[in-house]
Subunit: 324 residues, 2 copies
Amino acid sequence: MNEYIIAIDLGGTSAKIAVINEEAKIKERWSVPTDISEEGKLVIPNIIQSIESFFNRENISTTQIKGIGLGTPGTINQTAGTVAAAYNLNWHGAQPIKKQFEEAFDVPFFMDNDANVAALGEQWQGAGDQAANVVMVTLGTGVGGGVVIDGHLVHGVNQAAGEIGHMTIEFDDPILCTCGKLGCLETVASATGAVNLAKHHVSSFTGTSALKDAVINHESISSYDIFQLAEEHGDPYAIMIVDTYSDYLARALSHIANTLNPAKIIIGGGVSASGEFLRERVERLFKQYSFSQIKNSTQIVLAELGNDAGIFGAAQIVNNGLSN
Amino acid sequence: MNEYIIAIDLGGTSAKIAVINEEAKIKERWSVPTDISEEGKLVIPNIIQSIESFFNRENISTTQIKGIGLGTPGTINQTAGTVAAAYNLNWHGAQPIKKQFEEAFDVPFFMDNDANVAALGEQWQGAGDQAANVVMVTLGTGVGGGVVIDGHLVHGVNQAAGEIGHMTIEFDDPILCTCGKLGCLETVASATGAVNLAKHHVSSFTGTSALKDAVINHESISSYDIFQLAEEHGDPYAIMIVDTYSDYLARALSHIANTLNPAKIIIGGGVSASGEFLRERVERLFKQYSFSQIKNSTQIVLAELGNDAGIFGAAQIVNNGLSN
């Protein structure tokens, strides 16, 4: 009787762990602090120990476990079962994660990149409504992405599918990205990107604006401040920045849609907390840039699962992995 | 003993028909003129009759036929087994093609759009080297495309995946596309697009150029002329146009690669006859616009099958369809 999946969403602060049943319901959930000391070598053993304690406490046998799924930062080597350097976990060399889990628990183990896993979670249990083809773009400090085709994640020949944040989107007046390339979507459509835009265009805005004043006076501003000033206060420069931000994002989403015509493109991450104020703008410009057969068939929607996307995605990679 | 696949590549002038064995070798091939009179209602019956004659002549039974695959212009409704309006076949309403074939031959029948089928053919037997993920862009009068993920064509929620020709690629000084949208890739990177560019930028080129003179004198020019003038004669304005053309194409291909990281992006179609002269330029700019993990893993290659891509793709949709 294989009833449960153990889903793990590993982050720089904590690992969220959940026990999910075959109806995709969370039966138990807890978290383990991520201890990145000693080059992060305690991270995985701490998670394993916590799951073992849970099994002992609840008198659960591994025969009741269908599999374990892990979403993690870093670049995955699926063949080797390792994760290469993940700096926020203090991992500098390849980590033999699959081996560690399989030695501890005699059950199938699957893992994937956290941005991919979040996309799969939203596709399966969130805004994706289980549509076969869904793309998710996550607007956080950077811009991440995940591409689901036929219900499965696309990895690409070098595990770099879904690098939507590094799509070149500004050619004439680009900002340098942390990746070393010019004009990446991430330089203009992340939390950092909104602030970049506010600084970059300040000299071209001639009106009166609290945001403009803050930039000129070198005050600390965040993307949250910019969206708040635009939505709550109607600050004209903040509105201009939100419009510019939305235009870049709409361009990128139209490129994706004109290539894949997915049922949904899901906008998630911290910046998507601005919700409909952002979505509606992006959708309007997206339709302007998309082919007629696509603009009314590919929907632009907001993520629904918040921080739980990673947990559900980690569970679904087990289901997908076992069905292969 | 199911040995052969009947592959059909239907075009406005003729339908190419081939008998392909399990080693993907063409055993027989012929073509049937496409008779578009009477609203194209003879197109499919003529093909069916030609295949029946072949079976009779060669004493082939349908038990030796694994399936029939058709690549066709127009928009496919896979559920209904119909093709909606295809103007170069003089088809104005939905054509019940699957029904026609299945009534004539008691074997599995599969069909897909011609651009998709060509992409699958190149992925399977051409420049794609059977890599799981391959995208093809076809530079003809327009720009077509096909996306293969995990060896299967991506169709999209409204059958519009692969509409790479309608990716918006010029935002500031766009040309109107026949689709009604502004700035589509097709307006600048098709055969028509090269001529559009030569006309569009002529006033900004101050040097001496045979191409410039031809444009100013309203002489008839083709994309072939432009590429010839650039490659064979070093015409400076023609080189500028080829560079501009390549830059737009490279932008589009980088958007695709930053989303999907396919093993190969295949450039095909009439314009790709300029071969390495075009490919090398596109590749150089593509690398400039692509994420570091992608630029050296996604290869830009030229199509290898020419007009046979459609035949091989039509065969492979049978293999894929039967494996589902």
